[in-house]
Assembly symmetry: C2
Homo-oligomer: 231 residues x 2
């Protein structure tokens, strides 16, 4: 009996008649609708919770969970391809683009000399129009002459790098931590201040091993699942 | 001038006369101590911030940052080895150990039949005595007869698996997201409720590809950096 109830609710969620964020009817209402006791309803909701379709907030009831965006991490991370592989429409917006001297940290990561300069691109990444991450990418300005203009003209980092002669690149390393969104980050991601962020610090290199991009991405911890396949 | 001030403060932190969590003197105090203007002090603090040695809280001043624990993620994740590789002393405490029927999600992950049973081990992982993560690991109870007793007797999962005949295992996949610590998680991790957690969902398999462990780990996002080497 409870599996049939779970199946009915699952169909309503998957087919879209219940949307992410919608509150489900109460246990009492579902009991009446299906003509079963509350224990049976609870078992059905519990199954949907295990499947990640529903989440319960103490005292507030059960809600349709937002569909998480899966984001594969590996040697070949490509934002647009990653999002499209999950059946979503990727887009990016650059809010800030500047060229300036590298800090010590940036110069070390990008293997620049003491007076090296970088192009910094900051902005927001979206899946189906929903903001999922902030990015702050640094590119070596002299090594990649014209990169600032390329980034201003095309949305994709892959395409911008291709325009300045980097036809291929690979991820060398990723470091991952967690922090809380500050008010500015929260506003851009359409989250509440204090929402959980998962940040990644990453380095991309060209086929000769020369660094071409070093940066940080701040993913919404609730909207994105980073996926590693170790095989 | 500011590099010399940064160097002096760096030495005080690295050599231990300033400890993680200590508040640094104010900008005004540092200006007086070094006989420079505040702009110069700010530049030195900014450099230490970039290096991850110091973090500033708005209105509260600058603090010596906790040394983060690096935790490599790959096909061969071993908790004790990972922590020792970072020059720290690993330890684990199991708070809860039970055998029970698998949920649908557990049965699917561990490839169990419909009446499959699991052993659940929940507890806390430490580096140098500081709690860095909570774990909730599921093991196939029938396939690994004796695993509950082995887990109760030895701290290391690797050693417990070896006792029940699993001499080697490898990580097949890891999924990563972020959430806020609830009060119970915060208490066990000695964090404030609402502190950022990075969770991982992982599956370990034996050399024949048969699942031997499925579980979740909740890392303190502030104390741990997950490290991926894609080469």
């Amino acid at each position: 009996m409870w599996t049939a109830i779970a199946e009915t609710l699952r169909r309503e969620i998957v087919e879209g008649s219940r949307q992410p964020g919608d509150r489900l009817p109460t246990e009492a209402q579902l009991s009446r609708r299906f003509g079963v006791n509350r224990h049976t309803v609870r078992r059905a909701l519990s199954r949907l919770g295990e499947e990640g379709l529903v989440h319960s907030r103490r005292g507030a009831g059960a809600f349709v969970a937002a569909r998480r965006t899966e984001y594969p991490l590996g040697a070949r991370v490509r934002f647009h391809r990653n999002i499209r592989a999950g059946g979503r429409l990727p887009s990016r917006r650059i809010d800030h683009l500047e060229e300036r001297p590298a800090t010590a940290e940036e110069a070390e990561a990008l293997e620049l000399g003491p007076s090296g300069r970088i192009v910094l691109a900051e902005g927001v990444s979206f899946a189906d129009g929903c903001p999922i991450a902030l990015f702050a990418s640094r590119f070596p300005a002299e090594r990649l002459a014209g990169i600032a203009q390329a980034l201003a003209e095309v949305a994709s980092v892959t395409e911008a790098l291709a325009r300045v002669g980097v036809g291929d690149y690979a991820r060398r390393s990723t470091r991952i931590g967690g922090e809380l969104a500050d008010p500015a980050q929260a506003a851009k991601l359409e989250l509440s201040p204090g929402a959980p962020l998962v940040w990644t610090e990453s380095l991309n290199v060209d086929p000769g091993g020369v660094p071409v991009e070093y940066g940080f991405t701040y993913f919404s911890g609730e909207r994105v699942t980073l996926v590693l396949d170790h095989s």
